[in-house]
């Protein structure tokens, strides 16, 4: 059941097909309609969550970007550091840089960990986080490639939302 998988992953922002559709529309509409900088950043509050329970391997826990409210000057670069988040192996905060209404970079602002392993783990996780935020905000897709969902799980999939949006 994907919704419960989402809850376990600790992702609070978007947990339904309707929610996904909203984010997709908000992102794409952002190109054309003026929105406040804070709004355009609220959708892709990115989290890299741990694998669902039952998987053997350890994974990165939630790292959440919570952009501060400082509004950038129109067209200029501005950045904000989110609040510290517990992410399983330590405490992490993420810095988001915006140009106008668009997120242009995501990086680790602070990282406190006890182990060397966690340091290297965070280095590996952040590239994924960067892909995710940038792509989700600025692209328009027709389909999602992923591990095969069952016909029941399809109802909760991003593909299902795309199919509905295009009918």
């Amino acid at each position: 059941m994907p919704p419960s998988k989402l809850n376990r992953a600790g992702v609070a922002a978007v947990s339904s097909v309707a929610g996904f559709a909203f984010v997709l529309l908000a992102h794409t509409a952002g190109h054309r309609t003026p929105t406040a900088p804070g709004q355009s950043m609220s959708g892709p509050a990115a989290a890299t969550a741990p694998p669902s329970q039952g998987q053997a391997s350890p994974g990165p826990a939630a790292t959440t970007t919570t952009p501060a409210t400082g509004a950038p000057a129109a067209g200029g670069l501005a950045s904000a550091v989110g609040q510290n988040e517990q992410y399983g192996y330590g405490v992490l905060s993420v810095k988001v840089t915006v140009s106008g209404r668009r997120i242009v970079d995501v990086s680790v602002a602070t990282l406190q960990t006890a182990e060397q392993y966690s340091q290297s783990l965070a280095q590996q996780v952040i590239p994924m986080l960067r892909h995710e935020v940038l792509s989700a905000q600025t692209t328009q897709v027709y389909a999602v490639s992923g591990a095969t969902y069952t016909s029941e799980a399809y109802l909760y999939s991003a593909q299902s939302a795309l199919d509905k949006l295009h009918v």
Binding site: K5, G59, Y142, S145, G146, Y149, T150, Y154, Q159, D163
Partner: protein
């Protein structure tokens, strides 16, 4: 918002849902609808041949040794030939003959079936079409307002986010444990494979991309190295700890945001 396709269809078949997005181009609307109908009928026909869940399907009877070679529908030897090819190309990481319960082409046959369905739409003369078989996608042409079909690769730990976005010209397949658990078997020792969070392969053929994605999901970095040597194919792997690796062929297809 991506331009809405002329015909969108979501067909439950093969234990999943196959989504079609079709731009008619110069093809008449009713002819386009009829071609999607025919593609869906073909998917159901192929499911009836290959299902290993249905005890009396030709594939199940072959696995049980209860069908003569002369009675086999021609689709089965064609798919097994492709399986042999995929086994060679993957350096043995995809091996339907090493599965418990007899030869099992499951890792390739869904991609192959979706490829047959998209072939029907191409022959019908529609302008552009995309078929997504539960996450494995075959397509041709491009939307009228864009030079390529754009496809997101699902983030392994978030069902509503992308790990990356690609410009796809033919086929893309992804394998991973996040939808149906650790279902893949390592052909070398029969154990349940757990070295990957996600494995994606792009290339000209969805049948082969499907099988090779399974291979990378099982063989992780070792299989990725094998794929990196294949002309026309690209692969992207995410490990259980969030680490990532991609071949140069894959990186060339990445959509650059902005």
């Amino acid at each position: 918002m991506a331009l809405a396709a002329d015909v969108v269809r979501a067909e439950p078949v093969m234990g999943t849902v196959v989504s079609f997005h079709v731009f008619a181009g110069r093809c008449r609307r009713d002819k386009t609808e009829a071609a999607v109908d025919e593609a869906c009928r073909e998917l159901h026909r192929l499911e009836a041949i290959f299902s290993t869940w249905v005890a009396d399907s030709p594939m199940s009877r072959l696995r049980a040794g209860r069908i003569g070679l002369d009675q086999l529908p021609p689709e089965i030897p064609a798919v097994l030939d492709l399986c042999r090819r995929a086994k060679d190309l993957s350096g043995g990481w995809f091996d339907p003959w090493a599965m418990p319960g007899g030869v099992d082409p499951t890792g390739l046959v869904k991609g192959w079936a979706v490829e047959q369905a998209i072939g029907i739409l191409r022959e019908a003369g529609v302008g552009a079409a995309l078929a997504n078989g539960g996450g494995d996608i075959a397509l041709f042409g491009h939307p009228p307002d864009a030079p390529n079909w754009r496809v997101g690769v699902r983030h392994p730990w978030r069902s509503n986010a992308f790990a990356c976005v690609l410009e796809v010209s033919s086929a893309i397949a992804t394998s991973g444990p996040y939808e149906r658990g650790l279902h893949l078997i390592d052909p070398h020792d029969g154990s349940r494979a757990q070295r990957s969070a996600s494995a994606t392969v792009i290339g000209p053929s969805l049948a082969l991309a499907d099988a090779l994605a399974t291979a990378v999901a099982v063989g992780a970095r070792e299989a990725l190295r094998v794929i990196s040597g294949l002309e026309g194919y690209g692969a992207y792997w995410i490990g259980p700890d969030g680490s990532e690796e991609a071949t140069s062929g894959f990186n060339r297809a990445l959509h650059r945001a902005g």
